[in-house]
């Protein structure tokens, strides 16, 4: 259950214009509700395997869903991209469009569930889609995505070897890696008395009463409880054990009397602007946060903790091509374009702040290029993290439901 995502806008500063007051509830609740009507493509839920790092999955290929043939000419577009808002540098679209003589159109979704509802209904036709690994299996088994033809993707070899052949999609049959992040703890070095690294159990920083009213968790029904599990040494953050779920919920609820914990996905502004002193944080937000500091503050006031041994929460985004794509050849070229080292780096450094898993992207260069502040190197994702980190993976339906209900009870604030 990914309720929110690193780049998910809620009421961020950038997006508030254009949202009108009265219509907010009506639009945002009825929209997905109605859009969500309509069945799947006849996929069989029984075929769904839950991929895990220790249970890698090679997804089946279906006769009625073949990959495109090799050696085709790219179509004339327009190339339609379905993406998170603010998750692609506009310049990339412009340059790609010029190179291939096509228009590039981008449509945004605000939750992965909304995107899946729309795309699985078959009512919309996009050429490129940015899904998350913990929904990939459902999209493949439901035949929503088409297999990739690697002939068009020579740049896939620029990616870390481990993400070229990842556990969630062995052989990258249906997906190519896009961006990576870790979930750590951001803090204000000028405000907190204790930093996570000072504690024998860094996750206990959330209970530090010195930061009462200034402690935030990510407003995400899986990322937030994952830190509760890790605090208690439960490394399987994809557990569906009711006792573990109950335990994580009680830990969350105990944060209310301790620090009146708050939840938000605006981590990249809450911390620099001082609303938060301790904030569960996505690494990409830690890198972007320096641009939101008020005048007079330098990035020295920002800190980001992620376990030194790499045993923390990690996640990534994928690029895929829907089965209904009108421009599948062009879409392959676009995926390859983004896997190019220069384009991937530019997209990351100039705009997105989330890092592409490219071998040639030297983490130390990020500091010399001033993309990442020198003391925030903990926010850089390294290839080794992919092997040591804990992924939030696909859950069974009952697991998703159980976690969602626990999260809803915590969010009710009555425990």
């Amino acid at each position: 259950m990914v309720t929110f995502h690193p780049r998910e806008p809620r009421y961020g500063r950038r997006e508030f214009i254009g949202r009108s007051a009265g219509g907010v509830l009506a639009l945002s609740s009825l929209g997905p509700l109605l859009a969500a009507c309509g069945g799947g493509n006849g996929g069989d839920a029984a075929e769904l395997v839950l991929a895990r790092p220790d249970n890698p999955v090679t997804w089946p290929l279906y006769d009625d869903n073949p990959a495109i043939a090799s050696g085709l000419e790219p179509e004339k577009g327009p190339l339609k991209i379905y993406n998170w808002n603010g998750y692609l540098w506009p310049r990339i679209k412009k340059d790609f469009g010029q190179e291939y003589g096509v228009n590039v159109e981008e449509t945004f979704f605000s939750t992965m569930d909304e995107a899946i509802a729309k795309i699985s209904s078959g009512a919309v036709e996009y050429d490129v889609f940015i899904p998350v690994p913990d929904r990939l299996g459902r999209l493949v088994v439901g035949k929503v995505l088409q297999p990739l033809n690697h002939e068009y993707l020579p740049n896939l070899q620029n990616a870390w070897p481990s993400v070229q052949d990842p556990w969630y999609d062995k052989g990258s049959l249906y997906s190519a890696p896009y961006l990576m992040w870790t979930t750590g703890i951001g803090y204000r070095t000028d405000k907190v008395k204790t930093t996570p690294a000072d504690l024998s159990n860094p996750y206990e920083i959330y209970w530090d009463e010195a930061n009462k009213g200034k402690t935030y968790l990510l407003d995400d029904g899986r990322d937030a409880p994952a830190h509760m599990l890790l605090k208690n040494g439960i490394e399987d953050i994809n557990t569906e054990d009711p006792e573990h779920i109950e335990h994580a919920k009680r830990e969350l609820e105990s944060l209310i009397p301790a620090v009146n914990v708050k939840t938000s996905t605006d981590d990249y502004t809450n911390l620099p602007e001082g609303r938060a002193w301790v904030h569960q944080m996505w690494s990409g937000s830690a890198i972007s946060a320096q641009w939101y500091l008020p005048e007079g503050l330098t990035s020295e006031v920002l800190g980001f903790w992620f376990p030194e041994d790499g045993k923390g929460t990690i996640g990534n985004d994928l690029m895929a091509i829907p089965r209904t794509a009108k421009n599948p050849v062009l879409a392959h070229h676009f995926l390859d374009y983004l896997l190019d080292v220069k384009h991937g780096y530019d997209n990351f450094a100039n705009y997105v702040g989330y890092q592409p898993p490219l071998t040639a992207l030297d983490p130390d260069r990020l500091v010399t290029d001033e993309v990442v502040a020198p003391h925030l190197t903990t926010a850089i994702v390294r290839e080794s993290d992919f092997d040591t980190g804990y992924f939030l993976t696909e859950l069974s339906q009952s697991g998703q439901v159980a976690w969602q209900n626990a999260w809803a009870e915590f969010k009710a604030g009555v425990g």
């Binding site: 259950m1 509700l33 009507c37 909304e114 509802a117 609303r275 439901v401 969602q404």
Partner: protein, 304 residues
Amino acid sequence: MAEPQPVSPRRGDAFWAGLALPGVAWLCLFFLLPFYVVLCIAFGSVDPLFLTPRPEWNPLAWSTASFEFTLERLFGGSFGRVFLRTFAYVAIATALSLLIAYPVAYYVARYGGRWKGLLLAGLIAPFFVSYLMRMLAWINLLQDDGWVNDVLLWVGILDAPRNWLDGRASSVILGLVYGYVPFMILPLYAFLDRIDRSQLEAARDLGASPFQAFRLVTLPLSVPAILASIVIIALPMFGDYYTTDLLSQSPTTSMIGNQIYLYILGGQQIPVGAALVVCLMLFLTLLLGYYVYATARAQRRLGS
């Protein structure tokens, strides 16, 4: 001599009935139909693979599982307690809004004079700015180093900056009041402006003090307007989730709208969200029923 014809539309006059057609069609298309869809989702199931809702269009085949789950939590569970909190916030915010809106509307209606137009424009001005924008502005004002703390410190009311945004209920309630009070002033003004002054003059002629004239004439006359303005702001407040999301972000101030938001936008259990929507609508219908009853009673009393 012929009997005078009663002034009422003749039977079979299709023209007059036709005038109501666009409104009826609108209501069916944009209210009844969507509401039926919500019902079908609440009583439907989810796709086993994508977990997207599968509405059940046939009422005979409706599944009550999501409703049972919702009702169980509504009576004695987390939904119920959030609902009570929402009710309390809305009641307090509505009462405060009335305390603010009534005198303002009264002043503009009675003493606005030639400034009436300007004052009204001033009252409508907040509508020009999006609700979210106004709330985002408050976040900046209420921050530790925001103007609110600056002013309160300068005047000497506070010794140290207060963290208004630490998730306190009062900030949420005041946010609601701020957000909805203009919607209350306008209907109150429209009504108070129409009160026949000769009735007040009669009261004064018969020996009532100005306060008595207000208490015995103006106030009873404005009961229907007060009720209407309460309905106008209380109904959307019950569905509000963004005020608390912006000004508090603490689970302890979450409203029933937040739970609906979570279940509907969170996927997987959209039927539960839809069931919550239906329950909230039932409650609001009860409230509206009471409004209709109370207005009818007030009218009768004024008529006799």
